[in-house]
C-alpha cells in the first residue's frame, strides 16, 4: 500500500474582498478534499486588519469541516508592529507557518510549519529547520525534482508547491501602487482590482509576470500533475495548492484523484486546463528548466 499524499491549501496570496475571502473558506470547509488549510495575510500587512476581523469565524468553520488550520505569517515583516502581531499569534497558541526567519526566531523551538518563503535548498538546512521545531516544510518553488529527491527522504515533513502562480519575489516596494502612480502609504488598496495578480507583459506584449502588491509571481500557473507519482516516491508527504480565483474545490478534487491514482496525469491536466485559470499550466521549475516553461500537452 503506497502512502497517502495529503493536500494543503496555501494562504490566499491576493487581496480579495473580505466577503469573497470568507465565502471562499466556507466552501473549502464544506467541499474541498484538503487536509490542511493555511490562512493569514502573507504579502502585505496593510491588508491584515480586514481579514483579522473574520479570522476566528473562518478558523472555526474550517475546523468544523475537519480541516487542520495553520496560521501563516508575513513573508517580509519589517515594522515593529508586524513583528509584535506575529508574536501575539504564537502566544495565542495558533499553529504557525513561518514565512520568514524572524518568525522562526520568535517561535524559539516550538513546533511549527515552514512556508515556501524560507530558503531551504539542501538537506543540511532542512535538518537544521527540523531541529528548530519545523514539522512540515514547503520547499521554495524554484527547486527541481532532483533536489526534492535529496530533501524529502526519510523525514515525513516535505511539502511541494503543486498548484497556483509561483511566487517569485518580494519587495518593500508596492508595484500595484507604483503602476497606478501612487505611493505605498496612499495605495487605496488598488491591488484589490487584480484578484489573481496584475498581468505584466514584455515590450512585445508577451505575458510574463503577475504583480500582487509587493509580491511578484509568474504569469503561468504551476501544475505538478505529471510529477505527483515521482514526488510521492521521493518521500514528499504533501502537495500545496495555492489559491487562485478559479474553482479551487475542483482543483483540490483533481489533485486528490491524482494522488489516489484514480485519474491519470493527462486527464488531470485536461481537467485543470478547462478551469478559468489566469495563465497556462507549467511544471518548468520541477523539470529543472526555466520556471516560465509551459507544460507540454499530449
Amino acid at each position: 500500500m503506497t502512502k497517502r499524499l495529503s493536500l494543503t491549501l496555501g494562504s490566499v496570496l491576493f487581496n480579495w474582498p473580505v466577503k469573497q475571502w470568507v465565502d471562499f473558506y466556507a466552501r473549502i470547509a464544506d467541499e474541498a478534499p484538503v487536509d490542511r488549510v493555511c490562512l493569514g495575510e502573507v504579502v502585505c500587512s496593510k491588508r491584515k486588519p480586514f481579514v483579522d476581523d473574520v479570522t476566528l469565524e473562518v478558523v472555526d468553520r474550517l475546523e468544523r469541516g475537519g480541516k487542520e488550520v495553520v496560521y501563516a505569517t508575513l513573508a517580509l515583516p519589517t515594522g515593529k508592529r508586524e513583528i509584535r502581531d506575529i508574536g501575539d499569534m504564537i502566544q495565542a497558541g495558533y499553529q504557525i507557518e513561518a514565512n520568514d526567519i524572524a518568525t522562526v526566531h520568535l517561535l524559539n523551538g516550538k513546533a511549527h510549519s515552514v512556508g515556501p518563503f524560507i530558503n531551504i535548498y539542501n538537506e543540511d538546512t532542512l535538518a537544521l529547520h527540523l531541529k528548530l521545531g519545523a514539522t512540515r516544510i514547503c520547499l521554495p518553488p524554484e527547486l527541481p525534482l532532483e533536489s526534492i529527491r535529496a530533501l524529502a527522504k526519510g523525514n515525513e515533513a516535505v511539502e511541494v508547491f503543486a498548484f497556483g502562480r509561483p511566487p517569485l519575489a518580494l519587495s518593500a516596494r508596492c508595484y500595484s501602487a507604483r503602476s497606478k502612480g501612487t505611493a505605498k502609504d496612499a495605495c487605496q488598496f488598488v491591488c484589490e482590482a487584480d484578484r489573481d495578480g496584475m498581468n505584466v507583459e514584455t515590450l512585445d506584449g508577451v505575458p510574463f509576470l503577475a504583480v500582487n502588491g509587493t509580491q511578484t509571481l509568474g504569469f503561468v500557473v504551476t501544475a505538478a500533475v505529471r510529477q505527483v507519482e515521482a514526488l510521492r516516491e521521493a518521500g514528499v508527504v504533501s502537495l500545496r495548492l495555492s489559491p487562485q480565483t478559479c474553482d479551487m474545490v475542483r482543483v483540490a478534487s483533481i489533485f486528490r484523484d491524482l494522488a489516489d491514482g484514480s485519474t491519470t496525469p493527462e486527464e488531470a491536466g485536461e481537467s485543470l486546463s478547462v478551469l478559468h485559470l489566469p495563465g497556462p499550466l507549467s511544471d518548468g521549475f520541477l523539470r529543472g528548466v526555466p520556471g516560465c516553461t509551459v507544460a507540454e500537452v499530449d
Binding site: 538537506e123 524554484e142 507583459e201 514584455t202 504583480v211 520556471g291
Partner: protein
C-alpha cells in the same frame, strides 16, 4: 565614534583586488571560481592558489579579506560549499560572507573561531532575524538589505549590537528582497540562489529594431534603447514592462545607488562598514570609486568637511539615487 569606519570594496579578479587595496580599501571581498558565490560570471573570481595570494597581498598592505560563499548549497552537493568554507579559512580569510543557514552552521562548527558575516543574500531586515543568526551562530556582522531607510538602519544597528552592521553605499541596487528572488530562475533557469547569477549574459540577446537596440533575457523583451540612449545591462527587475496598458520601468528605474551624502549620518548611527557593489566592474572604475570614498571616510574621521562633488560623476552615465535610505515611495 570609537570604531574606525571600514570601506569594503569588491574584488572580481586578483588584479582587481590589488587595485582596490592600492586605492585604499580597508577590506576587500571576493569569491571562488564556482557557483558558491553570487557573482559566478565567466572570467571572474579566484582559484585556490589565487585566493591564498590575494589574502597575502591584502594582509601585507594592511587590508582585510572577506570571502563570499553566499549562494545556497545544492541538495546532494553540499560538499562543494563546505570545501569552499574550509579552503577560505585555510587561505587566511578574515571573514566569510555566508547566506545559507546550513552553511553558517557548518562553518561555525568546523571553524569555531572564524569570523562570520551574514550576506545580504540572507536578507536579515529585522532585529529578530539578526538575533537568530547572532545568538545561534555568532554572526559578527550583518550586511543589511538595500531596501531600508536610514531610520530602519539606525534601529537595526542598535538592536544588532554587538553584531556589527554593513550597508551598501554605492553601485547596483536590488529592489527585491535579496536572496528571495526567483525572477531570473523563472526566465532563464539560472538564479542567484542556485547558480550565483542573475539575468546571466548567456541568456541575454540583442537585436536591432529600426533605430533602437532591443534587449531580451531568456527570450523576453525587456528593454529598448533608442539610438543615442545609454544602453545599461538588461537586468530583469530593471526592465521595461507593460502593465494595465502602460509601459514603464515597473519595478525599478535603471538607477545606481550613491549614498555618499548619507555617510556622516550612517556613521553617526553606528554603522561599521560601507560596502561598494560591483565585483564585475573594471579596474579603472574600482580605482576611482574606492579612492573617492576613502577620501571621504578619511575626511570624516579627521572631522573635515567632505567634498561631495567628486563622487557625482562616478555612476557611468546612469542616474544615481540615495535609494531606499530616503524613501520616496512609502
Amino acid at each position: 565614534m570609537t570604531t574606525p569606519l571600514e570601506l569594503v570594496c569588491p574584488a572580481g579578479t586578483p588584479a582587481g583586488l590589488r587595485t582596490a587595496v592600492d586605492a585604499g580599501a580597508h577590506s576587500v571581498y571576493c569569491g571562488f571560481r564556482d557557483e558558491t558565490n553570487a557573482r559566478n560570471f565567466p572570467g571572474l573570481n579566484f582559484d585556490r592558489a589565487e585566493m591564498r595570494e590575494a589574502a597575502a597581498y591584502a594582509h601585507a598592505h594592511g587590508a582585510k579579506i572577506a570571502i563570499a560563499l553566499n549562494t545556497f548549497m545544492r541538495a546532494g552537493s553540499t560538499d562543494l560549499w563546505k570545501r569552499g568554507v574550509d579552503d577560505a579559512v585555510a587561505a587566511g580569510a578574515d571573514a566569510l560572507i555566508l547566506a545559507d543557514v546550513g552553511l553558517v552552521d557548518y562553518a561555525r562548527k568546523a571553524h569555531p573561531k572564524q569570523r562570520l558575516h551574514l550576506s545580504v543574500q540572507a536578507a536579515a531586515a529585522t532585529p529578530e532575524a539578526i538575533a537568530f543568526y547572532r545568538d545561534r551562530f555568532g554572526i559578527a556582522r550583518v550586511v543589511l538589505p538595500r531596501v531600508l531607510t536610514v531610520e530602519e538602519v539606525s534601529r537595526l544597528t542598535a538592536h544588532a549590537a554587538p553584531c556589527e552592521t554593513e550597508v551598501f553605499v554605492f553601485g547596483g541596487l536590488c529592489v527585491m528582497a535579496e536572496g528571495r528572488c526567483m525572477l531570473s530562475s523563472y526566465a532563464t533557469g539560472k538564479s542567484p540562489n542556485m547558480t550565483g547569477v542573475c539575468s546571466p549574459p548567456s541568456h541575454v540577446t540583442y537585436r536591432e529594431d529600426r533605430d533602437a537596440l532591443v534587449a531580451c533575457v531568456g527570450g523576453f523583451t525587456i528593454e529598448r534603447f533608442e539610438r543615442g540612449e545609454p544602453a545599461g545591462y538588461p537586468t530583469l527587475c530593471k526592465g521595461r514592462f507593460v502593465a494595465d496598458g502602460t509601459m514603464s520601468h515597473l519595478f525599478e528605474d535603471p538607477v545606481s545607488l550613491n549614498a555618499v551624502t548619507l555617510l556622516p549620518r550612517l556613521a553617526e548611527i553606528g554603522v561599521t562598514a560601507f560596502k561598494i557593489e560591483g565585483r564585475q566592474r573594471g579596474r579603472a572604475y574600482i580605482s576611482t570609486v574606492v579612492r573617492a570614498f576613502r577620501k571621504v571616510i578619511d575626511a570624516m574621521a579627521a572631522g573635515k568637511k567632505i567634498d561631495l562633488d567628486e563622487l557625482r560623476g562616478l555612476t557611468e552615465g546612469q542616474r544615481d539615487t540615495v535609494g531606499a535610505y530616503k524613501k520616496t515611495w512609502r
